[in-house]
């Protein structure tokens, strides 16, 4: 049964890839072939992963041949990631059948559909590979195909630049992954993951494996300071692809981090957890700080992904610390919080990226300052987008709230370890998480308030239209899930608990009536009760409005502007102005710069026009990457001395090398 489901999903993605190429000449047919097959494949994926997680049969394996020992190994952890990938794929594929109409007649749809299917298949392979060599092949496949997807609109120069940054960063990451796998393989004598987990590795080498894996997978996960590719690559890719990249691709790195830290390296050392916790806190804060001041919607969402990966890492770091301290129960709670946020993020970030795609689809701009008033032009999309905004802002009873509450609670549980350093580190992390949450609320309030409310700020926004129904359906699926994941944690947590049991311990959650969740410390929370209370209590003011003193009359009049006629879009508050207080408060982080150019007519007393420009500095790019790039280029220039371009010289090099190698072999190499 499991075997059939797994082959089913592989086959449908392959059919999707092949058929979209076959129907290449017919845009519409090709897009349906690609995305509907992917959707069917994802349904297989969902069934398969649920069957693995809920089944007693622990894992699922396909052995390779004796010559190439490549195969698949799916335990509950892998199955969870297949589930996350498949849910995202289902919604995004439905959305894509509508979204790619944008490209009909302009771009090659067959090529996009082919890459899309292979990309998803490669992600599923990444989380189910059972062997380091196999893993590196599919990992590289995933990176390269996502690179091709990023540069899909390669006629734009900024897209090509984004692709370049992405491919460089991802290969730096792959280099470190290779190093850590080589150490593991050296110690265990085999490349299979199974042998890795039992390998006897000296402590110092263990630390190296940990660090290399953290850097390698951290580059893909977008951990600060390895995050710089996200804000380039995610906006450059087509929005349906960004939804997948940001929603699920970067999570495959989290899968491998869990695999390496808990499975391969066994019970870790305390400081590993602290390092992950610190990186999580820094990523969360830096990510959201950049997101707050960003006006490009998709770039903002990319920065926000960095923030959410930070929150996921906070939970993971806490889990590692508990695990190293020998407390698997608490470790499980933190791990559940982390995986819960991962699941939520894949849903609401996918939703928001698709929402951004819808905005681009109907206005052809992703600049927030040019939008406005979309709530009237795109009523359904705006409600769906709003659900995503409420979820990502962690407002009760939506999904982000549950996972953030659990993360905070697991940080609070750190006090039961009675370790001074843990207590201080966890308190600071909680404060950072609170600040991150508040800034995220500000950021998404700004996005929705400026983008969707009030008056349109440009012609494009003025003429926006509601998007087509497949797009609404795809977003609607995610919007429903964001609400369900918020309101029904009582069904999600036992499910996640089964998954983390395989690498930590039992989370000892208890569940009460009204969907109440009680953690081991005795703290409880019930989002269904909160939802019911909010809805019922909202009736009270509604009754006052409607019933008190006869009928409700609401005369409509223009917006108050101190007596001035100000009801024009030019007088509206802008997104930049909205986030300006934060920019001023944290000026030393943003290093804001401004340019004001004034043109005069006749004399300096008569201003003709004033042009105001402001920008913020990407400090990591400026102070970390720019010097590094400079040194690399300088180094290359020096090495270039031996690159003469003359065949004779190269032959001489080969000769000299051979002589040295011979000498080595003859003299001491035996």
């Amino acid at each position: 049964m499991d075997y059939n489901l797994f082959s089913g999903l592989v086959i449908f993605y392959l059919i999707g890839a092949a058929s979209s190429i076959i129907f290449n000449k017919k845009d519409r047919l090709s897009s349906y072939a690609a995305f509907l097959n992917a959707a069917v494949g994802s349904v297989f994926g969902i069934l398969f992963s649920i069957s693995i997680i809920s089944g007693e049969s622990f894992n699922f394996e396909i052995q390779g041949t004796s010559f190439l020992n490549f195969g698949f190994f799916v335990d509950r952890l892998s199955a969870f990631f297949i589930l996350v990938i498949s849910i995202a794929t289902l919604a995004v594929s439905i959305y894509s059948t509508g979204y790619v109409k944008e490209y009909f007649g302009k771009k090659n749809i067959g090529y996009l559909g082919f890459l899309y299917n292979i990309f998803i298949l490669s992600m599923i392979m990444v989380v189910s590979a059972n062997n380091a060599v196999m893993f590196l092949i599919v990992w590289e496949m995933m990176s390269l195909i996502s690179y091709f997807l990023v540069i899909y609109e390669h006629e734009k120069p900024e897209v090509r630049k984004a692709g370049f940054i992405y491919i460089v960063m991802t290969h730096i990451g792959t280099g470190f992954i290779l190093l850590s796998f080589l150490i593991l393989a050296g110690a265990s004598g085999s490349f299979s993951f199974e042998s890795f987990s039992g390998a006897a590795i000296p402590p110092l080498l263990k630390d190296l494996v940990f660090l290399f894996a953290l850097i390698g997978f951290g580059a893909k996960a977008g951990i600060v300071p390895l995050h710089i590719w996200l804000p380039y690559a995610h906006p450059a890719a087509p929005s349906n692809v960004s939804a997948l990249m940001s929603g699920v691709m970067i999570k495959t790195a989290i899968y491998m981090l869990i695999r390496v830290f808990f499975d391969f390296l066994g019970s870790g050392v305390m400081w590993w957890g602290f390092l992950v916790l610190a990186l999580g806190a820094i990523s969360a804060l830096a990510g959201i700080m950049y997101a707050v001041v960003e006006s490009d919607i998709k770039r903002m969402l990319a920065f926000s992904s960095i923030e959410n990966m930070g929150i996921i890492l906070l939970g993971l770091g806490a889990s590692m610390i508990f695990f190293a301290a020998g407390n698997p129960g608490l470790s499980a709670i933190a791990a559940v919080a982390s995986l819960y946020h991962l699941l939520n993020h894949s849903v609401f970030k996918g939703l928001l990226f698709m929402g951004a795609g819808s905005i681009i689809f109907s206005t052809h701009t992703k600049n927030l300052e040019k939008l406005g008033g979309l709530i009237r032009k795109m009523p359904v999309s705006s409600v769906l987008f709003f659900t995503g905004v409420l979820s990502i802002s962690a407002l009760p009873p939506f999904s982000g709230f549950v996972s953030e509450w659990m993360t905070l609670q697991s940080l609070l549980l750190g006090f039961s370890l009675n370790d001074t350093f843990v207590m201080i580190a966890f308190s600071i992390s909680a404060a950072v998480l609170a600040l991150t949450g508040a800034l995220a609320a500000l950021c998404f309030l700004k996005t929705f308030g400026i983008g969707f409310l009030a008056l349109p700020r440009s012609q494009q926004a003025e003429h926006a239209k509601e998007v087509n129904s497949p797009m609404l359906l795809g977003m609607g699926l995610f919007a429903v899930l964001s609400i369900l994941f918020g309101v029904l944690p009582v069904f999600i947590i036992p499910f996640l608990d089964r998954i983390v049991q395989t690498f930590t311990g039992d989370g000892s959650f208890s569940y009460g009536y009204f969907g109440t969740i009680t953690l081991s410390g005795g703290n409880s929370m019930s989002t269904p009760a909160l939802l019911i209370l909010i809805l019922m209590l909202a009736l009270l003011p509604l009754m006052i409005l409607l019933l008190y003193n006869g009928k409700m009359r609401s005369p409509v009049y223009e917006t108050w502007g101190c007596g001035q006629p100000v009801s024009t879009a030019r007088n509206e508050y802008t997104g930049t102005a909205f986030s300006k207080p934060v920019q001023m408060w944290l000026g030393s982080f943003y290093k804001p710069g401004r340019e004001i150019t004034t043109t005069y007519s006749v004399s300096p007393f008569f201003r003709e026009s004033i042009r105001f420009g402001s920008r913020t500095e990407q400090i990591f790019e400026r102070y970390l990457y720019a010097p590094a790039v400079k040194h690399v280029l300088e180094g290359s220039r020096k090495v270039k001395l031996i690159q003469t371009g003359s065949i004779h010289a190269y032959l001489a090099y080969i000769f000299v090398t051979l002589v040295i190698l011979f000498m080595f072999v003859i003299l001491g190499g035996r």
């Binding site: 609170a434 409310l453 909160l530 003193n549 609401s554």
Partner: protein
């Protein structure tokens, strides 16, 4: 079950009924310090009754958000009110959320109010919404640290059990960590409810206002709802302080006596707030980070002193 629901309804009625009175008392005490006679302490009731009789003039640019926002804010604040012990510590809906959930419910109310501020397309609204969310970003870290200080002190984040633990401790509760956390929380309470020196609730001058700028477009019945919600929030933040830091006398003496004690506690906190408001000037917006870092440091010290006491 029925008594539980009756208790919950009773608590809702108490909150709605007392909220305007607290604002009235604060105004009266402020007037006293300013050597004015000041309006009657029942003036806020008259104001709300007057607003409820008026039509709501609505901007032509607004969407459904503008209509939904007062309802959601009101409901979110009242829901938070059901999670805070007022006159009994074993509150009926205590299971539904803890201290952290209360903070997030306030955030929900704030989010909708700030969103509505952008809906009419006026610059005033945007300015108010932007400042409100900015102040919230300053408040949240300090708030979370003081929640942690309180939670590790009482061993729970559920407000009912915090109240029980602290009131069982009696006078032993007066430890350094407890006092530091209280001062930190009081500063947060000022910021959270938009009082001087953070925001001036009495002014409509665009340079100084935060909350009033956000709700500038509301009028009539809707304004009555919005104003009542703000008063309820003030009352609830005070109740939160009372239930965490002086929960004494809540369960012992029966409901009428407990209600009397609650009234006295709230009145004392109201007078304290009025004293703070008359003795300080409103701070510039960009000096607020200093105020909130004081609160942050105090909560951190509260945590550290707890750790030292516990460890040693």
């Amino acid at each position: 079950m029925l008594t539980q629901i009756m208790l919950a309804i009773f608590q809702i009625l108490i909150i709605i009924a007392l909220a305007p009175l607290l604002s009235g008392i604060i105004k009266k005490v402020k007037a006293f310090f300013q050597i004015r006679k000041g309006p009657s302490i029942f003036q806020p009731y008259y104001d709300i009754a007057k607003l409820l009789r008026k039509d709501s003039v609505v901007s032509e640019n607004v969407s459904w958000i503008f209509y939904a926002s007062p309802l959601v804010s009101f409901a979110a604040i009242l829901t938070a009110g059901l999670l805070i012990p007022i006159f009994i510590s074993d509150i009926p809906f205590g299971f539904a959320g803890d201290l952290i959930a209360v903070v997030y419910l306030f955030a929900l109310a704030r989010f909708f109010t700030a969103l509505a501020s952008l809906d009419a397309g006026s610059s005033f609204g945007g300015m108010g919404g932007s400042r409100e969310m900015f102040v919230a970003s300053l408040v949240e870290p300090a708030m979370m640290l003081s929640i942690f200080a309180v939670a590790v002190y009482a061993g729970s984040t559920n407000l009912g059990s915090i109240s029980q633990t602290v009131s069982n401790l009696g006078i032993d509760a007066m430890s350094p960590s407890y006092l530091l956390a209280f001062v930190a929380f009081f500063i947060i309470a000022i910021a959270e409810t938009g009082r001087i020196p953070v925001d001036n609730p009495a002014t409509h001058l665009e340079l100084t206002m935060i909350h009033e700028a956000m709700i500038l477009e509301y009028s009539g019945k809707q304004l009555a709802i919005v104003e009542l919600a703000a008063m309820m929030k003030l009352l609830l933040v005070f109740s939160l302080l009372a239930s965490i830091f002086f929960p004494w006398g809540m369960d012992a003496a029966g409901i009428p006596a407990a209600l009397g004690i609650y009234l006295i506690k709230i009145a004392i906190l109201g007078v304290a707030m009025a004293v703070v408001e008359t003795s300080t000037a409103k701070w510039r917006l960009f000096r607020l980070p200093e105020l909130m870092s004081i609160s942050l440091m105090l909560s951190f010290l509260a945590l550290i002193s707890f750790i030292i006491v516990k460890g040693g």
